[in-house]
Structures are given as C-alpha cells and as structure tokens.
C-alpha cells in the first residue's frame, strides 16, 4: 500500500477535525450556572488559579488543580461537556489552604472555568483551554 504525502496529511486532518465538533453547545447553561453561583456579581480576572495540562493524554481522566487564597468556595465548569458542572469545593475552618486537586472528564477540547467565591464577598474567574485528542491505539 502506498500513500502520497498529501493523502497522509489528509488523514491526519480528519482526526483533528473530529476532535473539534461539539464546541459551545451548552454556553447558555454555563452562563446560568455562573449567575447562580455569583448572584450576577462582577468577577475579577485575578485571584484564582487553575492548573491543567495543555493537552490531556486521555479526556476520561484529566488532572486539574484549583487555588484561590481567601476563597470560601471554588466552582469548576467544563464548558464543552454535555452537562458543564464538574464540582464545587467548599472550604471549612480547618482547610489548610484554599486549594484542591482532582481528576475530571472532558468530552472534547474546551475551556474549563474556575470561579472563586472569596470571603470578602467578591468573585474571581479564570479559564484554561484543555485540548482533548483522539488517541491512536491507546485512546
């Protein structure tokens, strides 16, 4: 079997296109969830950190960490998932830091959003794009 360079490239593109299909299908729901969490308050661009791989080795198990000094709660949303809520971390009096790590499912390449509710009543927001690839034999 022989493949020209062009044909080989085309096969590669097909794989890339597949990963980008269902983007933004549930944007409205994301806005609603944020409004519910913040009560419509403004959100600062700094004050919360979301650590995640740029490219997930498998969308089924993606490690993420969130941190927001002074936060009472941090909500995480996967904007490209069929249902965007991922979880909300509520920190108690004995929390040693306002940070947590977990592993999440991402249906496709998308922005993951973290919103922190701070103890002074303000909110902070950040997001990170995580690329989810279709594996080869491993995926």
């Amino acid at each position: 079997m022989n493949f020209s360079r062009r044909e080989t490239f085309g096969l590669g593109l097909g794989a890339v296109a597949l990963t980008m299909l269902p983007v933004g299908a549930s944007a409205a729901t994301v806005d609603e969830l944020i409004a519910e969490f913040t009560g419509g308050a403004d959100m600062a661009d700094t004050g919360v950190t979301l650590t995640a791989p740029e490219i997930a080795e498998n969308g089924n198990t993606v490690p993420i960490s969130v941190e927001a000094p002074g936060a009472s709660a941090i909500m995480v949303l996967a904007t490209g998932n069929p249902t965007p809520p991922v979880g909300t971390f509520n920190f108690g009096p004995l929390a040693g830091s306002r940070s947590a790590s977990t592993r999440i499912r991402l249906a496709t390449t998308q922005d993951v959003v973290a919103i922190a509710k701070l103890e002074d009543g303000t909110f902070a927001r950040t997001s990170a794009e995580i690329k989810v690839t279709i594996g080869g034999c491993g995926g």
């Binding site: 509520n90 977990t102 592993r103």
Partner: protein, 109 residues
Amino acid sequence: MAEGVTPRVKVPKKAEAGEVITIKTLISHPMESGQRKDGDGNVIPRSIINRFTAEFNGESVIDVKMEPAMSTNPYFEFDATVPEAGDFKFTWYDDDGSVYEEVKSITVG
C-alpha cells in the same frame, strides 16, 4: 450500594500542633455519568458519588459537591490544618443513598 466500593486515604500518622498537612483520597466507584447508552441504545441511569466531605474532630476541612464530570474512581488532594490530636473522618455520599466512611487518627507532638 455500588459493588466493591473501597476507600483509600493517605494521612500522616502525626503532625505538629497547627501544622498544615496534605491529604489524598481515592475511592473505587464507576461514576456512571447518565450520558452513556447500553448495547440496546437505552440510557444507562446516572449513578455517582455526589458529595465528599472531610472533617477533623467534627469540624469541616472540605466539602465537595460532585457532578458526573468527575472521573471514575474519584481522587482528591487537599490540605488540612491539625490543631490537636484527633480523628479525620472522610465521607462519600452515593446517589443510591449509600454512605462510605473512613476514619484516620493523627497524633500531635
């Protein structure tokens, strides 16, 4: 109760009073998302752990609301302040009403 649910928790055995320690927890659970279909095309009903809490001597460390986007065999890492000797209690709440608990003692000094 989901079958064979096993918690696995890492807490140091001792700490200094007031020290901040790191805790890791894993629990075996399929976290069925409610998004999948079986071979006949029927939706497999959602069945997840929907809440995880960690307390020390009855006071809250962290309380997590969990959604179907949490991976199978849920994992958490977080920090706790240890004011005195006592017990950490970890609790996972299943959609089906089951509650899984694990207790780890820590000494101070």
